[in-house]
């Protein structure tokens, strides 16, 4: 077991999930409240990582992060270090790559709140902010938890985009998925097997939790 790689993976997954929580809430709520016509492009862009080959996304991020590019240059000017082949770089890549996993469950959860429940809250004198806290959030939390678990577990298993953007720098960007690949290349099958089994069990447990969350219906909305 490559503990350093597992540690990197867990940290990466935690960062990606934490950053995607507010992004998912904002984007998911906006998409749920916007009519189909106005949201088409954004919705497609959010879903793109589901079908885009990770290496393609990795390629464009490498270009974007390079010092020749304004974005990469700005990051270096502000922080003093580049994004390519760094932990920060793979965090940003993970956030983009996991957008659909975080946004879609939250969007579906918001969409399942009937519009009249929100209107009833306004007519009861609740501000938009109080409506969100007291009414919407308690109704969507299973969707939010699902989004976070999916993001977390999907980040643990990322390979292509991390390898492209981060390389496999030990202690910086070498995640557990890349470590499994490296061990196999080195004919260390037992180490690869241990790490693979760890990921398999974690993934299975995560999917189980997500399914039981989306399946439960204690809050009957008339």
């Amino acid at each position: 077991m490559d503990w350093t790689a597992l540690n990197i993976s867990l940290q990466l997954a935690a960062w990606a999930s934490a950053l995607l929580l507010p992004i998912g809430l904002l984007l998911g709520r906006w998409l749920a409240a916007t009519p189909m016509r106005g949201r088409g492009f954004v919705e497609a862009a959010v879903a793109l990582p589901l079908v885009l080959p990770p290496t393609v996304l990795g390629f464009y991020l490498l270009v974007l992060f390079s010092d020749d590019n304004p974005a990469g240059w700005l990051w270096r000017t502000l922080t003093g270090s580049g994004l390519n082949f760094s932990f920060s770089g793979i965090v940003i890549a993970s956030v983009i790559f996991n957008l659909p996993f975080a946004v879609q469950p939250i969007q579906r959860a918001f969409e399942s709140i009937p519009p009249y429940v929100r209107e009833a809250a306004w007519c009861s004198g609740l501000s938009h902010w109080r409506t969100f806290w007291r009414i919407e959030l308690p109704l969507i939390w299973p969707g939010v938890i699902s989004a976070m678990i999916l993001t977390f577990i999907h980040t643990l298993g990322e390979f292509g985009v991390i390898l492209m953007v981060g390389g496999a720098i030990d202690g910086e960007t070498r995640t557990i998925a890349i470590a499994i690949y490296d061990r196999m290349q080195a004919f260390d099958e037992s180490a690869a097997a241990t790490m693979s089994l760890t990921l398999l069990i974690a993934s299975f447990a995560a999917i189980g939790i997500v399914y039981s969350l989306t399946g439960r219906k204690p809050l009957h909305v008339r």
Binding site: Y116, V117, A120, W122, C123, S124, G125, R222
Partner: protein
């Protein structure tokens, strides 16, 4: 401001046509009736601030809630309108008590809980405060919705078809409860319904809406006896609307209908020779008993032949073709009277149209409605 507590005036052509002016006094219950799509719910949503009409003003006591010309449009949170939604729209994750306290913005948490219990007692839900909405029956959910609307200390109470989602038995009980409850409510109440019986049983005044236009606002009795236009009469389910011409015979007003000349109780404010629409309520058509004299039988007697005879429980609906080419007349009589008088299709019968009941409509009142309807 005037004695009117709530005043509203709404106008727009699209997407939903609206053209109406309504005022409701404190403690008064106004029913908005009309077929589906007539704009009843849109009017309610406009008052609550959930819908913004193109042009309009809404005043509640001294507050201006909406004035499109002055660009005033208060959000629902600032309007203090208690709205009971058609499907109640309770908050599914909150207990009955919390559904109420969440709508309160004054007092300590303890005071709010006490107030919630007091309101639940008013709507006969004492003891259910810790239940969740899905653990309640439809009737109980409706009561929670009413209590929540009151919890806000509203300046106007709006009820959107509040009895449509429950069964017949519960409906009757809830209607009685509302009739009792409204005496303790000091703000204007607007009830949206498509049920005329419900409207006439509960409301002080009824406003008939069609295509977003308020055709007539009146007390139930005036509305049923003196509909302003043929359209109002038909919307209220009346069929006996006819054409006639005003005459003067020996200085007395008469109405020519086919070959008949009908007496009128009062002289309509229209010139002799005018072509008019007129209406007679069911209650003022008297069937003559066979072989025996009936009260008032000399008043406007009309003879005809029964062309349809449909028993509907205790009442039987009869259509008769009148002699002299007048339009067919429909009347309701009790089924046992129909049996006793041997009324069946093809039978010849005689009725009296009581002069007191004949209502000659004034075309000036509704030609404008029609011309506007055509342009819309």
């Amino acid at each position: 401001m005037s004695a009117d507590w709530l005043f509203l005036q709404l106008h727009q052509n699209a997407p939903i046509p609206l053209s109406l002016q309504i005022s409701v006094r404190a403690g008064e219950l106004l029913a908005l009736v009309g077929p589906s799509g007539s704009g009843k719910t849109t009017v309610l949503r406009s008052i609550a601030g959930l819908y913004r009409p193109q042009y309009g003003t809404i005043h509640c006591r001294d507050d201006v809630w909406l004035d499109t010309r002055a660009a005033i449009d208060h959000p629902p949170q600032q309007r203090r309108a208690g709205l009971v939604f058609q499907n109640y729209a309770l908050f599914p994750h909150l207990t009955v008590r919390d559904n109420l306290t969440v709508a309160m913005d004054q007092g300590t948490a303890a005071a709010q809980r006490t107030e919630a219990l007091r309101l639940l007692e008013t709507v006969h839900l004492k003891g259910l405060e810790d239940r969740y909405p899905h653990e309640l029956s439809g009737g109980q959910q409706q009561r929670v919705a009413v209590a929540r609307a009151l919890a806000r200390q509203p300046r106007v109470l709006l009820l959107d078809e509040p009895f449509s989602a429950v069964d017949q038995m519960t409906r009757k009980r809830l209607q009685n409860e509302l009739a009792r409850l409204r005496r303790r409510i000091e703000v204007p109440i607007i009830l949206v319904t498509h049920d005329l019986n419900e409207a006439s049983a509960l409301a002080d005044r009824i406003c008939v809406l069609h295509n977003g236009r308020a055709l007539q606002t009146d007390h139930a009795d005036s509305l049923f006896r003196r509909p302003r236009s043929p359209q109002v009469a038909r919307l209220l389910g009346h069929n006996n609307v006819f054409n006639g011409r005003l005459l003067t015979v020996n200085g007395q007003p008469r109405l020519r209908w086919g070959d008949q000349q009908l007496e009128l109780a009062t002289s309509p404010p229209l010139p002799t020779g005018s072509d008019v629409d007129w209406f007679i309520p069911d209650s003022d058509i008297l069937l003559h008993r066979r072989g025996r004299p009936s009260l008032g039988e000399r008043e406007n007697p009309v003879t005809g032949r029964v062309t349809e005879c449909v028993p509907l429980g205790a009442q039987t609906e009869i259509t008769m073709r009148c002699q002299g080419g007048a339009q067919p007349l429909r009347l309701q009589i009790s089924t046992h009277a129909a049996r006793r008088n041997d009324i069946r299709i093809g039978a010849d019968i005689r009725v009296s149209l009581l002069a007191e009941g004949i209502h000659v409509m004034n075309p000036v009142d509704y030609r404008a409605d029609q011309s506007l309807n055509f342009s819309a």
